[in-house]
Amino acid sequence: MAQAPTDTPRYTRAVHGRLLVGVASGLARHLAVDPVVVRLAFMALSIGGVGVPIYLALYFFVPEEETAEGGEAGPDHQRKGREVSQLIAYTALALGLGLLFLLFGGVFDPLLWFMVFGTLGAVILWQQANPAQRDEWMSTNVVPVGRKALMRAGAGVLLIVVGVIGFLVFQEQLQNARAGLTFAFTIIAGIGLVAAPWVIGLVRERDEERRERIRNAERAELAAHIHDSVLHTLTLIQRRAEDPREVQRLARVQERALRSWLYRRPADAETTVRPGLERVAAEVEEEHGVPIEVVCVGDCDIDDGLGAVLRAAREAMVNASKYADADAISVFGEVEEGEVLVFVRDRGVGFELEEMPEDRMGVRGSILGRMERHGGTARVRTAPGEGTEVQLRMPRIPQF
């Protein structure tokens, strides 16, 4: 509004932050003033009788703004739709003013004007106290209240004080009122002193409550997580109790999920070797049902060559799961200064290395070939009954 660029926006009826049809708030934006001012002006005019036809005429002739660009207005205009409470306030105000007008019988009666001042002040204060701001006032993590808001509140108080004192002066009651006022101020100050510790206590309590709420939210998240995944898996396990392989698979999947949830490390996404290796192992394990234990020492970013190492390691794990008939597979990754080593080992049946070519194309192409293409080496150590170990070795490309 106030910080609007040099060219004034075209007069359209507002969609955001309007109370009735947006005539007043639209005009306020056009004139770069607070909508409250415009609304009160309309009200004042209405009392004289001209306001209503003007309002209606504007309603008919002024187009509604295009909603797509509603965002450029200030934050008070972001509230979509109408606020019934504000509308009621304005209506009550207009009716009250009308009544006053009838009672005092003239616009030039100073008494009326002081009452108008007082009411205006009250309206401004009322305007301030929308729920969001009230929250802000109550909040303890002191958000600096905007200077504009402070000025508005000050103006409101000033208007009320002027209104009240003026009213009293013109009623020739000031002298009588002075004693009363002194009395009232003393009482208020006394109450303030008494109430201050209590108010501070309330604020503290509120703070404590907020912390408690956060704790509760965390607890609720934990409960939801356990409910969604863990209880679900336990149910599945009970149903599949006759299939030990499936039970083990379910338990492993759940264990891994729970671990990664408990000890999650959001910082390292899967762009480094360690989580990459863990992910590959988890995938193979889920697919083939043989537990895979991963131990990794050191870490570094995955580049082309290391991507190939991960794919080769995956192939080795798949082979071990499918053919080795082992209870478990051990994977060890080590990131050293000059190279990265990955060992995939099982204590399964093993095989005769010379007889490999026929059915183990995977080993030739996906492991040995792939490693060599990327400048690394792969070795397979195995013998019937001795288990199998695939050793992958990839030199690291210096980063700088």
């Binding site: 671990r259 000890y263 490390r265 910082a267 390292d268 537990p291 234990e293 131990v295 990794c296 020492v297 050191g298 051990s330 060890f332 080590e334 200064e337 060992f343 080992r345 204590r347 170990e389």
Partner: protein, 223 residues
């Protein structure tokens, strides 16, 4: 091994064991799996109970859970080892968190195995630890390698703050899933020598004041 004459591995006696774990189901499960190679003389479910039972039964070995009500396994170690330094501890936990693993070993446990270990392997580990040797799971070996990995910080005490080449080799093989016997075969050394290396690593892990050791877990955010 060291000062007492009994060698459990050679069948002179059956190690007497106390199981400390706050899950009763798990305690009875372990009891069932251990079989005849081990005699379970007591159980406890929290720190105070454990200290009491261990003091009363004077077992050869305590199977100790890392997470326990009343201060955790480390608290049991602290209170028991000050009075009965001859009692050996083997940590048994579901936790993979580095600070748990390293913490309990530095607290005095002579080994660390996860609860997924088979009954036969657990019996072997108990016998080995009761004999005064150390038992490293692949994961613990990985953690130790990480903890002692070369950094720019100069070692305060070179004897304690560095692993020898041979010790690193042994740990690497353990991390790869090799049993002690297999490690010995690979490196052309006896099982006894492997055990000596692992015990020496354990000693360094427990005694080294290298400040990374206490901080490394958080700094590296390892699991």
């Amino acid at each position: 091994m060291d000062d007492d004459k009994t060698s459990f591995s050679e069948g002179d006696a059956v190690p007497r064991v106390v199981i400390v774990d706050d899950h009763r189901l798990f305690r009875s499960g372990v009891r069932g799996e251990l079989g005849n190679g081990v005699e379970v003389v007591g159980e406890a479910g929290d720190v105070d109970g454990a200290v009491h039972v261990i003091g009363e039964k004077q077992p050869d070995l305590v199977l100790l859970d890392v997470h326990l009500p009343g201060g955790g396994g480390v608290e049991v170690l602290r209170r028991v080892l000050s009075r009965h330094p001859q009692i050996r501890f083997l940590a048994l936990s579901v936790s993979d968190a580095a600070e748990d693993v390293i913490g309990i070993v530095r607290g005095g446990a002579r080994g660390y195995v996860t609860k997924t270990i088979s009954g036969r392997e657990l019996t072997n580990a108990i016998v080995r630890v009761a004999d005064g040797d150390a038992v490293f799971s692949p994961r613990l070996a990985g953690f130790v390698l990480d903890a002692f990995s070369a950094t720019d910080a100069p070692p305060v005490d070179p004897e304690l703050d560095r692993l020898t080449q041979r010790e690193r080799e042994v740990l690497r093989h353990i991390a790869r899933g090799y049993a002690y016997k297999e490690v010995g075969k690979e490196l052309f050394i006896s099982v006894k020598t492997v055990e000596t290396h692992v015990s020496s690593v354990l000693r360094k892990l427990q005694l080294s004041n290298r400040h990374e050791l206490s901080r490394w877990a958080t700094a590296r955010r390892l699991v």
